[in-house]
């Protein structure tokens, strides 16, 4: 079994005792806890936090079952994807839609209309229809 750990009888007993003790604490998260922000949580899972900033996060993960569970699931997701061994880029090879189209569809679904007002930030549209061509050249 992958997880078998070779311990002497005393350590085996302490392992069992510890397991039960920790299980009793499993769902503990102090009330009023501020959870670790997504950016830091993700960096922790990727191992890119350095010592200076990780001390407080490790300490938080010891006390916060919610954030700890999140990191656990993210690691599992990471492993599952690695095992699938499918290049992510190959999954969706279709031409990406312009964000205005994506959002238009989204808002149409939510509000039953495609409200152009939310796209007020858009860059001015070019006269010609070859804007996508230009975009590709810019790459």
């Amino acid at each position: 079994m992958e997880n078998n750990i070779q311990l002497n009888p005393q350590e085996l007993q302490i392992q069992g005792l510890l397991d039960r003790y920790l299980a009793s604490q499993a769902k503990r998260t102090a009330s009023g806890t501020t959870h670790v922000e997504e950016d830091s949580l993700s960096a922790f899972v990727e191992g890119t936090l350095n010592k200076r900033e990780s001390a407080s996060i490790v300490s938080h993960l010891v006390d916060c079952g919610f954030c700890r569970h999140a990191t656990t699931e993210l690691v599992r997701l990471d492993l599952a994807f690695a095992e699938d061994n499918i290049p992510a880029a190959a999954i969706g090879s279709s031409e990406p839609s312009k964000i205005s189209e994506v959002l238009s569809g989204l808002f149409a679904k939510i509000f039953g209309t495609s409200d152009g007002a939310v796209f007020a930030h858009e860059e001015p549209k070019k006269e010609s229809d070859d804007s996508d061509e230009d975009d590709k050249k810019d790459q």
């Binding site: 997880n3 069992g16 604490q25 010592k51 656990t72």
Partner: protein
């Protein structure tokens, strides 16, 4: 949304400040060369990065050194951050790139985590809304992208955002949510360590109930104390293994990066040092780390029973065996749990 021109004040000396500004400028130049049409200004990019540096500098009381700053900036995913800043500002070209590079990945993550295809589609739509920012605060659109600081990869951040979004979605439909239930279809099951079978009785007949209760009480105190004497990274690895039921392979994945703080802590503590500290962390390495934790817990446990409980070596043996027998009944920590749970809000 990141306000252009804002310049977060950094608590560092003038020389380091100049060094930081210069490094940020170089990063901007490099990113701008890679994506010249994202419409990101040096002020906007610098403002975002300076805010991140300020948070980093404030994460410890110790004064930030030049090397620490350089190491930190090296780890920043500058191109991802550049794209996020551009998207937060609503740049059409950056959105196109973002959609092209990451939408399929986001859909794949969502399909993996969500229970149904509908949930997966909805959660991606929801996250896109958040990324675009449909909320207006003080006249400005608030984009989720503004919370990305380049600390990890943008994909790592996106999967975290999707995970949280799914949890929120699940919570909205349930008064009491179990996180385990939410993700029960994720991962590889609950295969876990096998524990010692309770040894055949013998001692039970030798001690009366009063003595047994006394042993229980001191054992609870001793195991709690032993766990609390561990350092945080040791506690965390035990919690991952025992509470989250992570496999050794999963833990080794967590410390796979050579920069992983958990890995650095364990390797620094290792007297013998790993033969190849920069090499891959195998399950056997994690196993050794766990074994060291158990050994430390055992030492503290025995020491506590000797000092506070006044127990002899023989009594400690009986005590441990009794506690192990009681594990099967799941009643050993009932009182402790009840006491601890009072007044606490669990997730």
């Amino acid at each position: 949304m990141i306000g252009a021109g804002e310049r977060p004040k950094l608590s560092m000396n003038e020389e380091l400040q100049k060094h930081c500004d210069s490094a940020i400028e170089q990063m901007f130049t490099r990113c701008h060369e890679n994506a010249p049409n994202f419409g990101v200004t040096p002020e906007c990019f610098g403002s975002s990065l300076r805010a991140t540096v300020a948070r980093f500098a404030g994460s410890s009381d110790a004064e930030l050194s030049k090397k620490e700053l350089d190491d930190f900036l090296t780890l920043i995913q500058a191109d991802d951050l550049f794209m996020a800043v551009a998207c937060a500002n609503g740049n059409e070209r950056s959105w196109w790139e973002f959609d092209h590079q990451h939408r399929a990945y986001m859909e794949r993550v969502a399909r993996h985590l969500a229970r149904t295809e509908v949930d997966a589609t909805d959660v991606v739509d929801t996250v896109y809304e958040q990324l675009y920012g449909t909320r207006i605060v003080d006249g400005e659109r608030v984009s989720k992208f503004a919370t990305y600081s380049g600390r990890g990869s943008i994909r790592g951040w996106l999967r975290t955002v999707i995970w949280h979004s799914l949890v929120d979605r699940h919570r909205a439909g349930h008064d009491e949510v179990s996180l385990d239930e939410m993700t029960e279809n994720v991962g590889e099951g609950m295969a876990h360590a096998s524990f010692a079978e309770p040894p055949a009785g013998g001692e039970t007949e030798m001690v009366d109930q009063i003595t047994r209760d006394r042993y229980k009480k001191v054992t609870v105190a001793a195991i709690e104390n032993a766990f609390n004497t561990l350092e945080d990274h040791e506690k965390l690895i035990l919690l991952y293994y025992h509470v989250e039921n992570m496999k050794l392979r999963e833990i080794s994945r967590l410390v796979e990066s050579e920069d992983s703080p958990l890995r650095a802590w364990f390797q620094r503590k290792s007297q013998a040092r790993e033969s190849n500290p920069a090499g891959r962390i195998h399950e056997s390495t994690v196993m050794r780390w766990l074994e060291k934790c158990y050994s430390k817990v055992l030492q503290s446990f025995n020491a506590k029973l000797r000092s506070d409980g006044g127990l002899s070596d023989e009594e400690i043996t009986i005590c441990t065996q009794l506690a192990t027998q009681d594990l099967a009944g799941n009643s050993f920590f009932r009182n402790l749990t009840a006491t601890r749970s009072a007044g606490e809000v669990s997730n």
